[in-house]
Symmetry: C2
Subunit: 497 residues, 2 copies
């Protein structure tokens, strides 16, 4: 594999740092396909762990997984007016179905066979509302069929011009929940419930604090009645939208004629929700915790939670430290810890430390001959600190350390966010803040799209959310931070990914 290289420090070039962390941790790599990345085994394992945790929560809340086609007939996308307008500029279109050899010499040169043109082009799904609600129309007949609670794990394509590993790629992986309900309050409760599931996951598993709230009209999903979102603050003080949950109202139900017979015998349109999180969360995890030595991964999602590095000089020492290392490994594995024993011959311990650090492993256990003699190992935390741990009861002290690291990562990320949040700023202070350190700025908002556009123009900041009650400032603003007119809601602004 590629030689380990120095990671660009955050202070020098944040964007380079981000790419370096990902490449050094072998989370992903650039592919020869414009805007598409390869998720490497270490990154994919992280995604699998995320999937498992989320999927369990989806199932615990009554959702079932299904799989819908990758392709959507072009005319389907057009059935909901706002929806097609939102996605028209970024869809990959399948128009032909055969290759043929070119006239040139050398049988291996090929071209699109013009005779294989499709009657109706197919859109590679940029999201699946249209195809899924077309199926719901077939499956939903009576109120007894409701609610219909589905989820799909799949790949998605949006033709993005500027792409960045995990944060914005032409193809990405996600899950999209799609539900149908008999009434508006039920759909609303579902959209809010799933926002809560995401928050639990992002805070308790990713150790990434989020602000939840509602999107403004200009930022909501194309075709939704209301969009709720989770916003996290990265180390460069830019916000990352980490997930969304939409109350779609009856917009798609009307476009695809999803109706049900009520208990009273009438015919009503269903109310839909959709909600999704993507591989972008991996980018959020990277930028929330990592440092200039590479990835820092919260223990609950770390592909490798503990790396054991045996240290020896002689063959005799090697036998002893490996034996103890193997024993510790087995004891930790039995306790459910994801553990690796790094017994590679051709690498010095220092090089191994460097590699496991770059890969974000939360805890490293070093075992040298003196440790063996003393009945202990040295436990080095990825986040700093090194102390001996007694061999008897090692599983208990390791799992306790992992829990502590998990909790500390969340606390420190939350402290950082709060240290980079301002409330009740005046317009000049707001402008200064967005020019300077940046972060979350809370303030009154008149609700006008014109104000939003002007703020974006002048400061590059957008309304991330109209925050939910628990995130609101104790003193609710009376006037719009920007124009001074009466405030309709407190808003949180930030520059965003």
């Amino acid at each position: 594999m590629a030689q380990a290289q120095k990671i660009t420090p955050r202070a020098k070039d944040y964007s380079e740092w981000y790419n370096d962390v990902i490449m050094q941790a072998e989370l992903a790599d650039y592919s020869p396909v414009r805007g598409c990345m390869v998720i490497r085994p270490h990154g994919y394992r992280l995604w699998e762990l995320m999937q498992r945790a989320l999927d369990d929560m989806f199932k615990a809340t009554g959702h079932q997984n299904a799989y819908f086609p990758l392709f959507i007939p072009m005319s389907f996308l057009a059935k909901e007016a706002e929806h097609v307008e939102g996605f028209a500029k970024e869809v990959a279109l399948v128009t032909h179905t055969r290759l043929k050899a070119t006239g040139k010499a050398g049988a291996q040169a090929v071209m699109v066979d013009p005779e294989s043109a499709l009657d109706e082009p197919l859109v590679v799904r940029p999201t699946s509302e249209t195809i899924i609600y077309a199926m719901f129309a077939k499956w939903v007949q009576s109120y007894r069929d409701l609610p219909l609670l589905m989820n799909q794990w799949c790949n998605i394509v949006r033709w993005e011009l500027r792409t960045r590993l995990f944060l914005r790629t032409t193809e990405f992986l996600w899950q999209e929940g799609h539900t149908a309900h008999a009434t508006e309050p039920e759909a609303e409760a579902e959209a809010r419930q799933m926002l809560g599931v995401y928050r639990t996951f992002q805070e308790e598993w990713m150790a990434m604090p989020v602000i939840t709230g509602k999107k403004t009209e200009s930022e909501k999903f194309a075709g939704a009645l209301r969009t709720y979102a989770l916003e996290a603050l990265m180390q460069d003080n830019k916000a990352l939208q980490a997930g969304t949950s939409h109350n779609l109202g009856q917009n798609f139900a009307k476009a695809f004629n999803v109706q049900y017979q009520t208990a009273a015998g009438g015919l009503e349109y269903v109310w839909n929700t959709s909600w999704g999180v993507t591989t972008r969360m991996i980018g959020g995890l990277v930028m929330t915790h990592s440092d200039d030595n590479g990835l820092v991964c919260p223990p609950k999602l770390a592909p490798v939670q503990v790396a054991i590095v045996p240290i020896w000089k002689s063959e005799e020492e090697k036998g002893r430290v490996l034996e103890v290392g193997e024993g510790v490994k087995q004891e930790l594995a039995r306790a459910g810890v994801r553990v690796e024993l790094d017994a590679r011959e051709n690498l010095k311990p220092g090089a191994k430390y460097f590699e496991w650090e770059a890969k974000g492993v939360p805890l490293r256990l070093e075992i040298g001959p003196r440790d063996v003699a003393a009945g202990q190992v040295m436990a080095a935390r990825r986040t700093g600190g090194k102390a001996p741990a007694r061999l008897p009861g090692i599983a208990g002290s390791v799992t306790a350390a992992l829990d502590q690291i998990q909790a500390a990562l969340f606390r420190s990320a939350k402290d950082r966010r709060e240290a980079h949040s301002i409330r009740g700023a005046s317009k000049p202070q707001f402008i200064e803040f967005m020019k300077g350190p940046g972060g979350f700025a809370y303030g009154g908002f008149c609700g006008s799209g014109a104000c939003e556009a002007e703020i974006k123009q002048e400061t590059a900041a957008t309304v991330r959310v109209l925050p939910d009650p628990e995130f609101r400032s104790p003193d609710q603003p009376k006037t719009c931070m920007w124009c001074g007119k009466p405030s309709v809601a407190e808003a949180v602004w930030a520059q965003a990914y």
Copy 2:
């Protein structure tokens, strides 16, 4: 949901029966996209259980999951001559990236924006050798990087003209393993090992007996050195190719320049393997076990292993049977059984039986007031037979019954296969067999493609495999069953899906 309908008997129309079983079990549904199906929750849960079992086996044999782009540049496919020839006629091609509104009135009509044409069209992956080996070239430098053992779970598109639910769909789900090795023997061992993993899965989990062996030149994978396959016999005596494992030799390594430095300092091309199984296995499972009442699912893969149906007439009875039902459910769930308690009010027990039967649930527990009084439940097997089971120790007797059902399904499928296999037939007998009942015909084969083509022309049968030693006939044939020339290998012929 749709009303339950009668399933067409196998004897009347096998093909209709197959579709009916799938629709009634709610495994899948037709979609509005030509050739693409929707995998419904019951079918997707089955796929998830298959995935989990296979994925565990892949990881246990040292493979790691990763994710590669959906799109492959057209020129990549062309780099391996046989490969592009094999897939050129069935690829979905992305040529444009934007929609625009048409001039017509009504903002919702759209067309492909001709100005968004890509410089190089992209192929929607029909398989990922080319894109994956292009990445391997980046990652493999030295012999220390080998073997590289990867797997990908993803969707695949092949533009098929005639499609059938699960068996042949334009888009399907699969896994594709891709590995790189230093030597030919290592690649060969890997290809054989994964064939063995598939066999274990298909026989022990799917209860579907398979014959393993090598494909002839005319049936091997486009670009492979050798293809190994697993073949199962369906109830209409047609063969289903249930999985393949390829030794790719150095064909792709040369096309994509995947070289490694040897320990001695030289430069060599790697040896690759690839291997895959797909959602087609669900079709194989359906056709191996199901009957005229619907799906029969082997217990190890059944989304619901046990359905508890309480029976009551009065409210007082209802209370008692539901209490016992809930207790049984919890006891079974604790024992790791996938169990449902069907307490629906609006359905009679008979209708519930009908539904769970169609869904393939291996074991149904009926609990009426008299059963409660007698301290028992009635256990009805999907495959026939009904007997009381005592409430104390119910988990033990249920898991024992599930094990018995699993074993019996395999045995009966294997007996059926053997009853529809002939060995050492003469040419006229072979022709008669293929006209008549059909099945697996073992016989000598001269190895000539001309003979294969003639046999296919006259009987619609193809060589499924040159079987592995344990499947070969005790008396190895000396001459080609068709042309009488010396036999180079015993072959197994059948008409196939």
